[in-house]
Amino acid sequence: MAGLEHLLAALTPINLAFALFGVVAGTVIGAIPGLTATMSVAVLVPLTFAMPTSSALILMGAIYTGAIYGGAYSAILLNTPGTPSAIATTFDGYPLAKKGDGDYAITIACLASVIGGLVGALALMTLAPPLSQVALAFGSVEYFWLAIFGLSLIAALSEGSLLKGVAGGALGLLLSCIGVAEVAGDVRLTFGLQTLLSGIQIVAALIGLYCIPVLIDLVAQPGHHLQVDSGSRGFRLGEAVRYLWGDKINTIRSAVIGTVVGILPGAGGSIASLVSYSEARRTAKPGQAYGKGEPGGIIASESANNATVGGGFIPTLVLGIPGTPPDAVILGALLVQGVRTGPSLFTNQGEIVYTFIWGLILATILMLPTGLFIGRYAYRTIITLPKALLVPAIAFMTIIGSYAIRNNISDVIIMIVLGGLGWIIGRFGFTASPIVLGLILGPIAESGFVQAWTIGTATDDRFGMFFGRPISIAIIVFTLFTLLSPLVLARLQKIKEQAHAD
């Protein structure tokens, strides 16, 4: 393996301490909706000026990977993704917790995150230069089609009514248009309100749409928040390991999807986990009830989102193009330290890069014990806290969290308004996920379309631009397959039944 000698450099007590501290702090920060991985890395930047570059990288990488995992706690226990990457974790995590298996869900999430993180980090160590080309092969038009593919997932994610899912997605797309347009810079749909000028922040929408309805229901309904079985059952580690082993194809496939999506600078953890979730659901074995508390759904989401950490570092370190928003902060810190990223970083300054990657691997492994302990603590807190304390504590967190996104009171107002809206339309069977999906994918689709259209017009080949590039064609075919395969299968089933009847 490349750079094995650098493992020893990563194993110094100070680096280990940084890795441990980073993972613990990251996990706690990630668990609080609104406090994101990007913010926690940014807070650390000044501290890193006074330390060796590789140690600084290890600290930032550890806090980043911890934060992505921590997002699972609130997703599972409160139905509120702590980070956008954990959206898909809510689909099965919260139903599982509702059934009284919150501890099990958290252990599953921890194991899946560690495996996903390791796969991403190993890809970074062994295949970074060739894989970075993926980032460059993905042009504007590919992002456009990727976003369209993402929107097609609404079909897979819609519980019950497809029409309501599509309506929710359309609402999300509309909401994403509010504020200063992503590429063209014009102001849209603000109705003259300063509050709307900066647009609808995804994290504010997450907190509002997911958490506020849970809060209202907590107050409105008697009984415990989560059902609790009597007695402590430990970590339920053995049970979880057995489940993961049985579902190993899903675990590894999700980690690979996460790594590849992480490499794409315009995508990120939320899209990675949604794509791998829908893949897991599409290939579900008989008896797996996705969306109703199926551990496989947690595995898909958590394995994928932690794999984006290693994946995202690939274009960051090889090309100098940040794969994810926290990568942008880390890249900035490196520039201040005078480290220039690029292909030669791996050859000329191999000791920095490989020490860092080993550090990231160590931090990911440390996430196993720390994650299990903190997870148990979080679970205990949520189930033992009386509602009279739980509700105000969560309500306080939603406000602090949405304010902290950009130090802006507008985000708090938007969060509360969307929360009320989410609760009302939830009564009519609309779910939050299609809305948030539209909100995340809208800007990607829009800017990809505008750019591809402009380039296509300049080269007099708009049709070839949209339908003539191999990666685009592959995504289009995949989208059609995702959309049409349930219909075709249902049709075939019907014909078969009819044949039987005759």
Binding site: T27, I29, L35, V43, P46, F49, I374, I400, N408, S410
Partner: protein, 325 residues
């Protein structure tokens, strides 16, 4: 075990608290040597951008010279407008300052109601700019700017520039380049300089209208021309547009402003401190290595004159580009 765990959790929580709250709550200053506590430095963009990076470069020099930290926090939104619209509502005690960018603060208020006017901003210092530059990949068929201009003349509209956003420094530079070179090129806006460079490296576009910093930060890129008065010390072989007969000296300027309520003596003191950092040879060297170009337009006539002449030329360019009516 339990206590260590709890203390780690507490440390994490404390960290989170700093992240969220920044330095908004500070006690009133007593009569003592200024500055006697950390100064809050608000960047109206997200972390990781060039506004953040240059502020980070100032940070250690400020601490070394004046013994106090510059504490950087972010208030992004609306291309910086959300931050600038709130600048004058902040406390003017000399412990709050904000990063300011050009052409943003000139163009935004003319385009729409963004909650502030250019004149509302009390400038202390314009400390550097990233000069506009035409960037190509190192294997590009364009060896010189003349190659690119020749190709553009023969194929109108077919030379495609990627750039960061619309109504931005690169966009205005592209408009001016087209006019002065007598060509027609296509400009494709991307979200940020990083994305526009990715499009260049992925061969989606023929060249990037970007900044000198790009060539300093990315391997496998070349500059064809820079929009400076004189050649950039880091790139002595790259000609200026002026040498090639085109009067383009432009870029994204960055400065520091304070809330209007900040008293004049405090403004003067803070200006002198920023100036001292900017004049430090080690700081200048770091900035130049990063591809930035240091300037010194200080509070008062210097900054005022600079801003008014910049505003005049950038407004004219924006009108030509159809961005302003």
């Amino acid at each position: 075990m339990k206590t260590t765990r709890r203390s780690l959790v507490l440390t994490g929580a404390a960290l989170a608290f700093v992240a969220g709250i920044g330095l908004t709550a500070q006690p009133a200053p007593a009569q003592a040597e200024y500055p006697e506590k950390p100064i809050s430095y608000i960047i109206p963009f997200g972390p990781g951008g060039e506004s953040d990076i240059t502020a980070r470069l100032q940070q250690p020099f400020f601490k070394e010279k004046f013994g106090q930290d510059l504490v950087i926090s972010y208030k992004p939104g609306g291309g910086g407008a959300v931050g600038w619209a709130t600048l004058n509502t902040l406390k003017g005690d000399g412990y709050t300052m904000m990063g300011v960018n050009l052409p943003h603060i000139v163009l935004q208020p003319q385009q729409k109601d963004v909650g502030y006017k250019t004149d509302d901003i009390t400038m202390l210092y314009w400390f550097h700019y990233t000069p506009d530059a035409i960037v190509v990949t190192d294997d590009s068929p364009f060896k010189t700017l003349q190659d690119l201009i020749k190709h553009a003349k023969e194929n109108p509209g077919k030379v495609i520039f990627s750039g960061s956003g619309k109504g931005t420094a690169p966009h205005l530079a592209q408009v001016r380049f087209d006019k002065l070179a007598g060509v027609k090129t296509t400009y494709v806006p991307f979200k940020g300089t990083g994305a526009s460079v990715a499009a260049l490296m992925g061969k989606q576009v023929s060249a990037a209208m970007a900044f000198t910093t790009v060539a300093a930060n990315y391997e496998k890129t070349r500059l064809l021309a820079v929009a400076m008065e004189k050649r950039h010390p880091r790139f002595p072989d790259v000609p200026t547009f002026k040498e090639l007969g085109m009067d383009i000296v432009s870029g994204a300027y960055r400065g520091i402003a304070v809330p209007k309520s900040t008293p004049e003596p405090v403004r003067q003191k803070l200006t002198a401190m920023i100036k001292a950092v900017n004049e430090d040879p080690a700081f200048r060297k770091k900035m130049e290595e990063g591809g930035f170009a240091v300037v010194d337009y200080a509070h008062g006539k210097s900054a005022d004159d600079f801003l008014s002449s910049f505003a005049k030329s950038v407004t004219a360019s924006a009108k030509e580009a159809g961005l302003l009516k």
